[in-house]
């Protein structure tokens, strides 16, 4: 939906350039899709995308810098997950929700203006 895109453009602000750069690569988009389904280690990702560990580390690094992915090292395994923090998610959701209502109310304004005009024309006769 278009308004979500507008919102993204408005609110991701300075991160946007980094995000675009990160998303301009098919492997990195694939990694994001993969992480959208489940968290994964860098090794898992390297295997899945058939590339070296070093190559995958680079890709994950770019995604991490853009804030699209976070990583956490537990023992010897570095786990990757989508980078949106829960609170940011809620804030972004609320903003989308607000914009949805705002668009609705814009249309409601139009309907109300029209009803007001009609009422003026017909006078306020016979109003209960």
């Amino acid at each position: 939906m278009r308004y979500i895109l507008n919102h993204m453009v408005q609110y991701t602000g300075t991160r946007l350039d980094a995000s675009f750069a990160a998303l301009s690569d098919a492997t990195r988009r694939g990694v994001l899709e993969q992480l959208g389904r489940a968290d994964a280690s860098i090794t898992d990702l390297a295997v899945k995308f058939d590339m070296t560990l070093t190559g995958m580390k680079k890709h994950v690094g770019v995604l991490e810098q853009a804030g699209l992915v976070t990583t956490e090292k537990v023992g010897r395994v570095r786990t990757c997950k989508l980078g949106t923090r829960r609170l940011e998610e809620e804030t972004a959701w609320l903003e989308r929700y607000r914009q949805l209502w705002d668009a609705r109310f814009d249309e409601l304004d139009t309907v109300v203006e029209e009803l007001k005009r009609k009422e003026k024309v017909h006078g306020r006769k016979k109003r209960k």
Partner: protein
């Protein structure tokens, strides 16, 4: 911010707010430039309601709209997104107080059955509209937010992707 919106009602555009008031409540407010009885009419007459509830920019079409606006009466809205399988939204009016208050249930899907209260408060020919959603539990509201956040993700990425492609193309040209 100095952003002017191009719109036929720029002069009268009021601010919409949306807040999570508590673990279980979402509240949306907006002042509408008209008396409460007119705003109430726009909420309760199907032919008016369907003109504004689904703005064109959403890419959704409202296939049908049945509103039996009285306490205990039901409503049903059928939507379709670009000709896809229709989705039904339905529930029941719990309270109907003419020109001032509407309370209805939301019974579709598994978003935990939120109850919506709309109040219409008239002041000087304008109406303060407050839309209040009460979810049955914190978990239900969290889930509603989480599903909205994740379901938006692939589409948003796809659009970012398109934008990247078009940006790449324009960089190539310059």
């Amino acid at each position: 911010m100095d952003v002017r919106r191009e719109s036929e009602h720029t002069a009268t555009k009021n601010r919409t707010t949306a807040d999570r008031k508590s673990e279980r409540e979402l509240v949306v407010t907006r002042v509408i430039n008209g008396p409460a009885r007119i705003v109430f009419e726009a909420f309760t007459k199907p032919e008016l309601f369907k003109r504004w509830w689904v703005p064109k920019s959403f890419g959704l079409s409202l296939l049908s709209c049945e509103l039996d606006v009285r306490a205990g009466g039901t409503y049903q809205l059928m939507f379709s997104h670009n000709g896809s399988e229709p989705m039904a939204f339905f529930g029941r009016y719990i309270e109907v107080t003419r020109h001032s208050r509407l309370v209805w249930t939301n019974e579709e899907g598994d978003d935990g059955g939120a109850v919506t209260t709309a109040t219409f408060e008239e002041k000087g020919g304008k109406t303060l509209l407050v839309m209040h959603d009460l979810y049955p539990s914190k978990e239900a509201l969290d889930a509603a937010i989480a599903s909205g956040a994740t379901s938006g993700m692939p589409e948003t990425l796809e659009q970012l992707d398109e934008l990247v492609v078009s940006l790449g193309a324009s960089v190539g040209r310059s």
